[in-house]
Amino acid sequence: MTTEDKHSDLDEQTRARLAKLASRPVDTTGVMAKLRKQIDAERGNQDDSTARTFKFPSWARWAGRSAIAATLIIAATLLFITTQSGSVVYAAPDRMVQLHRDLVDGRAPVIPVTNLAEARKTIESKWHEAPTLPDQWDKNVHACCLRDVQSRQVACILMKEADTPVTVVVARTKDFQSPDGPTVERNGQTYVVKSHDGVNMIMAQVKDRWICVMSELPVEPLFQLAEGVVADDKTSNTK
């Protein structure tokens, strides 16, 4: 090898080592919380400007202020109930772990299946608005079920990887989203990584579905499983 070749090889190795830094997990919780406040403040500005320009119409001057106030309170209450029932919830790690443990320890009923296609068919027959489930993801699936988590319906697929139970949860993104937390970007997809009580969770949102792969396995094999689901989701969506 010439000196020039060696330098070129060293450059390539250095570049490859630096490229690995792009997949280093970072904890965005703190900055996300600050940013969320700022976004809310920006929304507040809109509300303030609306409030500043709002004037009671002339007919309202004839009505009792108390009647208007009562109407507004009722309207606000109705609006609150409506938005709460249909709003997104952020997955709570402790609740997800509880779900995983309930399923693994047999505390929650599951439907035994022999493969993914059967699990998919079972779930779709019971939940007509279920998010599209993976259909080409070839893993050792042995059970499935529908569960209610944080008052939102989710589909669960149970499988084993390296003799360790793994739960894959699929929900609609209009119901469920990932909480703030350390994120990792792999192959253009952002994943939120959470750990709670010995269970690792890899969460991702792909178009209209939210997935969470969780197990007591280390993070890396879970990433590989999550990437399989995400890749399959993307393939399914293009069909």
């Binding site: 250095t14 490859a16 490229a19 965005t28 703190g30 303030d48 400007s49």
Partner: protein, 200 residues
């Protein structure tokens, strides 16, 4: 001054920019020494980006756009800190491009026998710490080209230098980084003493 943003603008920002938060935070960690400073830099960047979301051409890649804002924000913060100190002029901080033949890097390159193994032996934090000790322009170049995998024209556009400068800075930066890491490997006894003697 209150900035009024529409729901559409905020929704667009949340959809396009928020997923890149980890990229910005990672980049900020290369530029600052403390987590709170990195978070402040990212927050400032994101606020600017949110308010300027209409200036972003949706056909383009969001990542270089956000990193450009972050770099300018970093420079602004850095300059204001320097003005506060008032002891050093901006000129003192400028990093001159090396003249031909004035390449003080790669001093240990002949000693790297198993580069892949040795490079991978360092923890990420050690590599980042070594990066932090490099001149700012070099650091940005390595961050954009090698870590974030921007192509040379994109990096040149961001750093407002010719593409050739990016190439030479990347080459020089990798050599400088290797020198730092090799010194660390020697301190840790990861490379043999006779190798050390040979190269000095």
């Amino acid at each position: 001054m209150a900035v009024k943003l529409t729901d559409e603008q905020i929704e667009r920002f949340e959809r396009q920019a928020i997923p890149l938060l980890p990229v910005l935070l990672r980049a900020a960690q290369f530029m600052t020494h403390r987590q709170d400073q990195a978070e402040d830099l990212v927050q400032e960047t994101m606020i600017k980006a949110m308010r300027a979301i209409d200036q972003f051409d949706s056909v383009s890649d969001m990542k270089p756009w956000l990193l450009t804002i972050q770099r300018r924000t970093f420079i602004d913060l850095y300059r204001s800190r320097k003005q506060e100190r008032a002891q050093r002029s901006l000129e003192d901080e400028k990093i001159p491009e090396p003249a031909a033949g004035d390449e003080k890097f790669g001093a240990f390159d002949d000693q790297w026998h198993e580069p892949e193994q040795l490079l991978n032996r360092f923890e990420d934090e050690q590599v980042i710490e070594a990066m932090r000790s490099l001149p700012e322009d070099i650091r940005w170049t390595l961050l954009l080209v090698d870590v974030e995998q921007l192509d040379h024209p994109q990096a040149a556009n961001m750093l407002e230098v010719p593409v050739g400068t990016i190439k030479s800075r990347a080459h020089r930066g990798r050599g400088m980084l290797r020198d730092k890491l090799y010194s660390l490997a020697k301190q840790r006894g990861w490379v043999t003493t006779d190798t050390q003697d040979n190269q000095t």
